[in-house]
């Protein structure tokens, strides 16, 4: 490690390259601001357009007018709409999102407790999806048209066509209830127990994503294999590993990465069902429960939090893409 700190040769003579990347990163982060504002407007409007009002949800059908007025005052619903919106934005800036009507605890506490569970589930699903689809997509592309290719493709086709809840139930029955290799539900205690509890749910969630990624990457690799620069790399007498990773994989990943980024949103949506099937206490289940219970502060806060999470995922994949493909930094 020590030797690496010593400069061995004059550093990169082109000062433009890193600056271009930095400018690009800053520009993309600035672009996030209008996106987030738009999200706030949409969530604010949607919650107020929903049928039913929070006060009657809390107090029931036979509430007294005075009590309804009190609740509305507490929630700031007696204010004019523009004032409500300012208060709404302010609550997200300060992080004070009010209290859950049903659970009587601060919404921010709830989100910080539940969202990491869903993030963990989504992350593990993404890892499973990438770990299965990337090598198999390569294998299928390199063996294009042969038996291996057909087996891989039809295997994933089955995965893609099965509904999440069905796959979840099958896995639960076989590996949870019958073989008892994995717990049938819950989240456990401590990091490794969390991971252990999330293995079946994340495989369930990963299935459709890995099928999409596999199909995409396979055709991307096939395209790249025919590219002149791969023939040129071969004509230079490079090792096949270098050709595979530096010339083929890197180029093929660029288009697939865009699909991957977009799929993360779908994955978070899928987490709602998966969490219900496996009784995982994540944000998805909290969201479903809060919608049924008209727990507006929680619905609002959670929707914005999920939207921000998706935006950050898009930002990250965009940045990785720009890093992989210098032509995108224009």
């Amino acid at each position: 490690m020590r030797a690496r700190l010593r400069p061995r040769f004059p550093k990169c003579t082109n000062v433009r390259a890193p600056r271009v990347m930095l400018e690009y990163v800053l520009r993309r982060i600035l672009q996030l601001i209008p996106t987030l504002l738009f999200i706030l407007v949409v969530v604010f409007a949607l919650v107020r357009l929903l049928p039913g009002d929070p006060a009657s949800a809390v107090l029931g059908d036979r509430a007294l007018d005075a009590d309804v007025e009190r609740i509305n005052r507490e929630l700031g619903l007696d204010q004019p709409i523009p004032v409500q919106f300012v208060l709404f934005v302010k609550s997200f800036v300060t992080g004070d999102l009010g209290n859950s009507i049903a659970l009587k605890v601060p919404v921010s506490t709830l989100i910080l407790e539940r969202l990491p569970v869903t993030m963990m589930l989504t992350f593990m699903a993404a890892v499973f999806a990438v770990a299965t689809s990337v090598p198999l997509a390569f294998l299928a592309a390199l063996r294009r048209g042969r038996a291996t290719d057909t087996v891989i493709r039809s295997g994933f086709q089955v995965g893609l066509s099965m509904p999440v809840f069905f796959v979840g139930l099958v896995l639960l029955t076989v590996f949870g209830a019958r073989l008892r290799w994995f717990p049938v539900g819950g989240y456990g205690e401590g990091f490794f127990d969390h991971v252990y509890h999330l293995i079946l749910p994340s495989i369930t969630l990963a299935l459709s994503l890995s099928a999409v990624l596999m199909r995409n990457l396979r055709s991307a690799v096939i395209n790249v294999l025919d590219a002149d620069y791969v023939a040129f790399a071969e004509s230079k007498g490079l090792r096949s590993g270098i050709i595979l990773f530096r010339h083929i994989l890197r180029n093929a990943l660029i288009s697939t990465l865009a699909i991957f980024g977009l799929s993360i949103g779908t994955l978070l949506g899928g987490a709602v069902i998966t969490e219900s099937v496996f009784a995982v206490p994540g944000a998805g289940r909290l969201m479903v429960d809060s919608i049924y219970g008209r727990d507006y502060p929680v619905v609002q806060g959670l929707t914005v939090a999920l939207a921000v999470l998706v935006s950050l995922t898009f930002l990250t994949t965009d940045l990785i893409q720009a890093w992989l493909d210098p032509r995108l930094k224009k």
Binding site: R8, S235, K236, L238, R239, R327
Partner: protein
């Protein structure tokens, strides 16, 4: 021409697997390349000239099969183990492609694309590789080399990209350069610069060049010897001025007739009627016979051999005497 050839190709045949059948894209091709010589391979699209070039180092898609002999430095490259072939590719025999915009990897800076070649074939250390790649860009005439090394292909103009590709191909000082239509994608003025660059580098580095083109002008300007290909075979070969001045094959004569001439009275261009045969349906006898104005019965039944007409000039045509006479009459 008494020296030993640098490259000697004998009975090279390349077939492709088309599922149900195999077709031969190159049939029984033989030629020599002398040290320091520029050999031109000319022909229409689909004549097998590019496949011939790629077959030399077996740079072919899977399903292709090469037979015959490619003798290079005392070894037969056909059937050479992949590991040894890798040392030849890039290290001893390099290749440049038609379209530099697609042959350079778009996501890697030029520096990486040069240095990976140096890494594969030389013992230079990191600093040495950096120095050498800068020298190479200087050598091919790219100004401000130190800065441009860190740029990506899309930041180069077409001509500069082709120069960069030549720099990459020549990085490990190969003895033979295979150039597959290196100027077809470029403007005419840039074309000229690139051809002169290749000739200069040939002199400077003492390498041989095999240049594939469909452009007789490029051949006349650049090559020492030429071979005309039709339907996967060499139909005429020899020095550039004997072949272009006194073609002995009806096809070569036809090609010459379809090149516009400057300075002479305007005449109608004589294009060759019809199209080359499909590889799966090459006629018996002379493959050119269906399009040939000289064709007689023998052409349709017996394939002509490549036979010498004068010193170093050979043609595979039953009527080469008549063809040579024809040019004299029409000129």
């Amino acid at each position: 021409m008494t020296a030993a050839p640098a490259l000697s190709v004998r009975n090279l045949t390349t077939t492709f697997d088309l599922g149900a059948s195999r077709v031969a894209a190159v049939r029984d091709v033989s030629f020599d390349v002398m040290p320091g010589e520029v050999l031109g391979l000319v022909g229409e699209s689909g004549s097998g000239k590019s496949v011939t070039l790629r077959s030399l180092t077996r740079l072919l898609p899977s399903g292709a099969e090469v037979s015959g002999q490619v003798i290079w430095q005392g070894r037969n490259l056909v059937g050479l183990a992949p590991k040894d072939l890798r040392k030849v590719r890039g290290g001893e025999i390099s290749m440049i492609f038609q379209e530099p915009a697609t042959a350079l990897n778009p996501v890697l800076p030029i520096r990486v694309q040069i240095e990976e070649n140096l890494r594969a074939h030389t013992t230079l250390d990191r600093a040495g590789r950096r120095r050498r790649s800068q020298e190479l860009l200087d050598l091919v005439g790219i100004p401000d080399a130190a800065r441009r090394l860190d740029e990506y292909p899309h930041q180069f103009s077409g001509g500069m990209r082709q120069r960069a590709m030549i720099a990459i191909a020549l990085a490990s000082a190969p003895r033979l350069l295979l150039a597959d239509e290196p100027t077809t994608a470029l403007d005419v003025t840039i074309q000229d610069q690139i051809l002169n660059l290749i000739l200069d580098l040939r002199d400077e580095l003492g390498m041989s060049v095999v240049l594939v083109t469909h452009d007789l002008g490029v051949i006349a300007q650049t090559c020492d010897r030429m071979a005309v290909m039709y339907a996967g075979r060499i139909v005429e070969e020899g020095g550039v001025s004997p072949v272009l001045g006194h073609p002995a094959h009806a096809y070569t004569l036809g090609l010459l007739g379809s090149v516009p001439q400057a300075g002479t009275e305007r005449t109608v261009l004589r294009s060759i009627e019809g199209t080359p045969p499909a590889l799966s349906a090459i006629p018996p006898g002379c493959a050119f016979a269906p399009r040939c104005v000289f064709a007689t019965d023998i052409c349709r039944t017996r394939a002509p051999e490549l036979v010498g007409t004068t010193e170093g000039h050979a043609a595979a045509c039953h009527h080469s005497a008549m063809v040579r006479h024809q040019l004299g009459v029409s000129a």
